[in-house]
């Protein structure tokens, strides 16, 4: 009797997995591939659509899905085991690995106390200025050290302020939401600014080089995209203040208590200077050497330096790095490349273009808006980097200038404002339990409109000037 | 600051050696610049691996970025060399070990093994060596090590020894597995991919061949000869303090009794393991060993027998990185021609010093293989050194066998053979331990190879 219940329970937990298997089986066995698509491409499409269902419904842990994508490529004969393995690792995966490890190394230095003090010194005690300060600093920092690192460092500062402002943070819900969202949205909008802002940017760069679409240097990326970050910061502040209406206009006493807290940490120690110095080295490496050596290699060099100087223990890295996500991105990129090589991506792109072409006349507008809408929508369901890994090969096949389309996709993948799953920073503030999913919708749609409009302006006015 | 320099002096020495070679020493005429740079990276890595001034994963990271920065490859190329089916196989085996432990099967296996050997420590060590050797002839050393590692760890966990006694006991048991697996892997052609590579070379270069049984008849006596000596060496090098493991065994017995009969979950685990074994035997060639390992781990996660959290915490990812990076440098050595240069260079230097006789050729091929096997992986060694050895003249079968056998003598470092890397992943043995026991093992192996070559093989010709 008990074993039946165990089996039934297993079926309940894995129903989406079983559904996916059934879907895959039907597509593989009984549905014949479309005439204008070759068999390998069709199989690649089946694998990727199965993986998408699994990722969204999450009946299995992510690494299991990663393994699924890897071995299905071999089992269905898309490529040999060694070729699949070698398409698994590339600069983007090195970068994701390196940046996850760097985050552990940087956050464990306790630099957040210094950061808090610095921000408060800049902004003063007025609530609106603090929120503006949080947004701007999160945005600027996240361009360089990645949004997950920034959110991990800023969260304690924000939460401490809220707690000092009122004993029960739920009583000052507006203030709490405004502060936390200033961290999350600040980090998210900032992450588009440079290639090192997020794994998704590096994935896009990897696709560019893999598909021979040319390359973009670190500084060029900033020249194209940074104006958008700068436009968005003040408007984000306004949106947050308008949506959440903080209960207190002045945070005098909270700020004073925070300063006392932070001052206990004492003067900067040699270790902390070293940590900052090493990061600056890595940053300079990204700016000047990334074209020759790749962003990922330099990130790994940074991790090596942190380990060699004893600033972080390997054991800590081993425990706190999300190895499953590294596997997932590796396999997602490898199937993405497979989609491109087999022509499956082109086939999908062709379908989208012909179906929407009747609606929208101008071709550049069409490609741009397709990539923005597709990416924006998917990044609210999937994580943003996974979106780029999956959508990248398709949008680069839409036609038009692949670099510009690529930029649009990378930028639009940061538009995951509506849900807590999209961006790491959003997940982090959601995990505090102090903001509700409703809040994401309330502020999110305004942020969505703002971002789409500013992307439009950027692509219509700024990019033609370059 | 001074303390840091003191701690990391071998890192600084390695970097200094690298810098001097890179900037001030011109590369040999017969060697391309890239190959020379790869050799520099190899040398730096070797110094670091032997002295371990920084954690091994950090050494893996420096292998990756040096290949791009001075090796002149693009990041994506290095990424490509970095990951191969073998790495997935290594990753999958480590994950499987976690799954076995999480289901408590390790205890049952350990009890089964102990019930065969009895409670005496030396007999248990011998049992592990023998099991590892016999199994690895059939299913390959990686897998055997991955399965036996948790079994040994269970015994170690239950042992009452603390401090020095525990260190010695763990070293003895773990090396019994690793060296046993290495010793056994030469026994049959299916003991490892390198044996298959050599079979191919015979057909390609020497137009002769050796049957499966012929291989076993020639080589298996050597395996049998080596096993008792290995046990003896391991016990001498890491003498366990306790002569008996009574209390550990009793503890184990209590644990297994408390678990009761095999639960459905454990039964399912066994079924899945058996399926994977069949998969490896029948589809290993077609789909790749690593792919099947991944399928297995996937099934374990789908059935909920093991949680990803346990896997993530239980797998030593640094070892995966290290293994991958040594493979990538091995591939680079081969591709740039550095390996051939090294092999031909040493052969020609030694060959000019010594007369051209059969036994000299044998020594050459053995020495070359041992040296390279400890530098790069055994398969790469055979792939690179094989053609050179076969071109030395003399009986290709004998020289080939000598070279393939010698390529299993990777006892010196944690990365020399996959089995060594896997036991290193437990964190219970230190990198210098490998050198401590390794040189004796190598000496013993070479001697027994000589004995076999002089007294056994002539019976066949």
């Amino acid at each position: 009797m008990n074993i039946y219940i165990d089996i039934l329970f297993w079926v309940r937990q894995k129903k989406w997995f079983l559904f996916t298997l059934l879907y895959g089986l039907v597509m593989y066995q009984w549905v014949s591939p479309p005439p204008d698509l070759n068999l390998a491409g069709y199989h690649a499409l089946i694998i990727i659509s199965m993986a998408l269902i699994l990722i969204i419904t999450e009946p299995l842990p992510l690494p299991a899905i990663a393994m699924f994508m890897l071995f299905m490529q071999v089992v269905w004969g898309l490529d040999t085991a060694n070729n699949v393995a070698s398409s698994f690792m590339n600069d983007a995966v090195f970068f994701i690995m390196g940046s996850l490890m760097l985050a552990v190394a940087i956050v464990s230095q306790g630099l957040d106390k210094r950061l808090a003090l610095g921000i408060i010194k800049l902004t003063g005690h007025k609530t609106w200025r603090i929120i503006a300060g949080f947004t701007a600093i999160s945005a600027i920092l996240s361009s360089f050290i990645g949004e997950h690192t920034v959110a991990a460092m800023m969260m304690p500062v924000g939460l401490t302020l809220v707690r000092y402002a009122h004993k029960d943070p739920r009583k000052v819900a507006g203030l709490t939401a405004a502060l936390l969202f200033s961290i999350a949205y600040g980090a998210t909008i900032g992450s588009i600014g440079t290639p090192s802002g997020g794994g998704r940017n590096v994935i896009m760069m990897n696709y560019w080089s893999e598909f021979g679409a040319g390359s973009v240097s670190y500084l060029e990326w900033m020249k194209y995209v940074y104006p958008m970050v700068i436009i968005e910061i003040p408007i984000t502040v306004l949106i947050l203040l308008w949506t959440f209406r903080p209960e207190q206009t002045n945070l005098d006493s909270a700020v004073r208590k925070l300063i006392i807290d932070v001052a206990r940490a004492g003067k900067m120690k040699g270790r902390e200077w070293l940590a900052i110095f090493l990061f600056i080295l890595v940053f300079l490496g990204w700016v000047f050497l990334s074209e020759a050596f790749g962003l990922g290699i330099i990130a790994l060099l940074g991790v090596f330096l942190y380990l060699a100087f004893g600033l972080v223990e390997w054991r800590e890295l081993n425990r706190k790095t999300n190895w499953g996500v590294i596997l997932l991105f590796g396999s997602a990129i490898s199937i993405g490349i497979q989609m491109y090589d087999t022509g499956a991506a082109e086939w999908v792109a062709h379908i989208i273009i012909t179906n929407l072409g009747r609606v929208i006349e101008s071709p550049t507008m069409l490609q741009g808006s397709v990539s923005v809408l597709l990416t924006g929508a998917m990044s609210n369901v999937l994580s943003s980097s996974a979106t780029v890994a999956v959508v990248g090969p398709i949008v680069l096949d839409l036609g038009g200038d692949p670099i510009l389309i690529g930029f649009m996709t990378a930028i639009a993948s940061a538009f995951g404002y509506f849900t807590a799953v999209a961006a790491p920073a959003c997940t982090i503030i959601y995990s505090s339990g102090l903001v509700k999913s409703k809040d994401f919708l309330r502020a999110g749609w305004k942020m969505g409109v703002l971002s789409v409009v500013s992307l439009l302006l950027l692509s219509l006015i700024w990019w033609p000037m370059l | 600051m001074i303390f840091w320099v003191q701690q990391k002096r071998w890192l600084l020495i390695a970097l200094a050696v690298g810098a001097i070679l890179y900037f001030f020493v011109p590369h040999p005429q017969s060697l391309s610049l890239e190959a020379y740079h790869i050799l520099i990276i190899m040398l730096m890595t070797l110094i670091m691996i032997l002295k371990e001034p920084i954690p091994l994963p950090a050494i893996a990271l420096q292998v990756i970025f040096w290949q791009v920065i001075i090796g002149g490859s693009t990041p994506n190329e290095v990424g490509g060399y970095f990951m191969s089916d073998a790495v997935f196989f290594m990753m999958g085996s480590l994950m499987l070990a976690v799954a076995i432990v999480s289901q408590g099967l390790d205890k049952r296996l350990a009890l089964f093994l102990v019930s065969l050997t009895g409670n005496r420590t030396w007999r248990i060590v011998a049992g592990f060596t023998l099991t590892a050797a016999l199994l690895s002839s059939v299913i390959g050393p990686h897998l055997v090590t991955a399965i036996l590692l948790p079994v040994a760890l269970t015994l170690i966990r239950f042992s009452p020894d603390r401090g020095k006694g525990l260190v010695a006991l763990s070293a003895a048991l773990l090396f019994a597995i690793a060296y046993g697996a290495n010793v056994g892997s030469i026994g049959t052609p299916s003991g490892g991919p390198r044996n298959v590579i050599m079979m191919n070379y015979w057909q390609e270069f020497a137009f002769t061949s050796l049957s499966y049984l012929g291989w076993i008849r020639r080589v298996y006596p050597m395996v049998l000869l080596e096993i008792p000596f290995s046990v003896w060496i391991i016990l001498k090098t890491f003498p366990p303090e306790q002569q008996h493991m009574d209390s550990a065994v009793r503890h184990l017995l209590v644990e297994v009794r408390r678990d009761g009969k095999i639960s459905p979950a454990q039964g399912l685990t066994l079924v899945l393991l058996a399926l994977m074994l069949l998969g490896w035997v029948f589809f290993g060639e077609q789909l790749g060993m690593g792919t099947i390992a991944l399928i297995g781990v996937f099934l374990f996660m789908v059935t909920g027998l093991v949680q990803w959290k346990e896997i993530s915490a239980g797998v030593n990812w640094g070892v995966v990185l290290l293994f991958a990076s040594t493979i990538s440098i091995g591939v680079q050595m081969k591709n740039t021609g550095a390996a051939i240069w090294l092999a031909e260079g040493s052969v020609s230097i030694l060959g000019s010093l010594l007369p051209n006789l059969d036994w000299v050729r044998a020594i050459l091929s053995v020495g070359l293989s041992v040296g390279m096997a400890n530098l790069i992986s055994p398969s790469a060694t055979v792939a690179v050194a094989g053609p050179i050895v076969l071109n030395l003249g003399g009986d290709p079968i004998l020289l080939g066998l000598a070279s393939v056998i010698a390529s299993a003598f990777g006892y010196f470092t944690a990365v020399a053979a996959p089995a060594c890397t896997i036991i290193y992943s437990s964190g219970l043995v230190k990198a210098p331990d490998f050198l401590k026991a390794g040189w004796k093992m190598a000496l013993m192996s070479i001697l027994s190879l000589t004995v076999i070559a002089l007294f056994w093989w002539p019976l066949f010709s």
């Binding site: 009797m1 008990n2 039946y4 219940i5 039934l8 329970f9 309940r12 937990q13 999450e58 842990p61 992510l62 996850l100 985050a103 552990v104 956050v107 464990s108 306790g110 957040d112 997950h148 959110a151 991990a152 460092m153 969260m155 304690p156 939460l159 401490t160 707690r163 706190k320 790095t321 999300n322 499953g324 996500v325 997932l328 994580s383 980097s385 996974a386 807590a420 799953v421 961006a423 790491p424 997940t427 982090i428 959601y430 995990s431 505090s432 339990g433 102090l434 | 949680q307 959290k309 346990e310």
Partner: protein
């Protein structure tokens, strides 16, 4: 009223209460504490939080570690701290409980479960557990791990659609407080039929009635006019049991569709106790069972005894 010392099982019972938040979980906790004291059971309090998207799991963990440095604890631990305070208020006479101090740094983590280590917990018999993931899954794992006898679940969260899964998959008895109003004087309503779980539910009902002084009614429903021997026998046994304990009992025999009759009879001032279904699990999944349907259609507190 003559009283016989009641003995249920010799083994001490273990109850589990699921709490979700400071705002909504107060009645659940109160009832949990009350029922636990009735049965002299130890009480585990579990908080099942939402699991962060796996993509960002490590970033969230990193943030949590960093928050620890700032003395800001996991929101779930905050709820558990509150629950401990509440329990102390509810059981002022329990000295051991009063001594316990909550320390968020003293936690033990394994298998995706965080156990708060409470000093001197021997006499207090309280456990605080933090889990993250899907509710039914986590409760099931917790019950299997610790062998709880009863799971007490509040109705504040949207549990209606979970009713089916809870009853089908939780391996313990289940007590669902849907709209529990502490001020209403409840009547105990025992559903009696020929199933094997009836005798245990009669025992539990008697104990609750005895300790809380609630009036008891038994209800037996038959689909046809004729009441089978098993039904009448079960009702008579129940009557005898209560009489032995000196508890007054009203007995009702109604005809009609069982579930509809239960629901109508229970109205909103009964506290229902019924035995778990003995149907095979596949049939339960497809067609539902009496407890599942009853739970879906009524708002009163229901204790399903397994």
């Amino acid at each position: 009223m003559k009283k016989k010392p009641t003995k249920i099982e010799t083994k001490a019972l273990k109850f589990l209460t699921a709490v979700s938040s400071v705002e909504y979980s107060k009645p659940t906790l109160k009832m949990g504490s009350l029922i636990a004291s009735v049965f002299d059971a130890s009480l585990g309090v579990v908080y099942v939080g939402e699991k962060a998207s796996e993509f960002h799991g490590s970033s969230v963990n990193l943030t949590r570690h960093n928050l620890d440095n700032w003395n800001i604890i996991h929101p779930g631990l905050e709820v558990l701290e509150w629950a401990l305070k509440e329990l102390k208020k509810l059981n002022p006479e329990n000295r051991d409980l009063a001594k316990i101090q909550f320390n968020p740094d003293h936690v033990y983590e394994e298998d995706g479960r965080v156990l708060v280590i409470l000093p001197n917990e021997d006499g207090s018999r309280v456990e605080l557990i933090l889990r993250e993931g899907e509710l039914v899954n986590e409760l099931r794992k917790e019950i299997q791990l610790e062998g709880y006898d009863l799971a007490i679940i509040g109705g504040s969260q949207n549990k209606r659609h979970l009713a089916h899964s809870l009853i089908q998959y939780l391996p313990s008895s289940i007590f669902v407080l849907q709209k529990f109003n502490p001020r209403v004087k409840y009547k105990l309503l025992l559903l009696v039929d020929d199933s094997s779980a009836t005798s245990k539910s009669v025992k539990w009902g008697a104990l609750i009635a005895e300790k809380l002084g609630w009036p008891v009614r038994t209800l037996t429903v038959s689909k046809t006019k004729r009441f089978g021997e098993g039904y009448m026998g079960a009702a008579a046994t129940a009557k005898k049991y209560f009489d032995d304990k000196g508890i007054e009992v009203e007995q009702f025999f109604l005809t009609g569709d069982p579930v509809r009759t239960f629901v109508e009879f229970a109205a909103d001032n009964h506290f229902v106790i019924m035995g778990a279904s003995t149907l095979n699990p596949v049939k339960q999944l497809l067609f539902g069972s009496k407890p599942i349907k009853t739970l879906e259609q009524t708002d009163v507190p229901i204790l399903i005894v397994r």
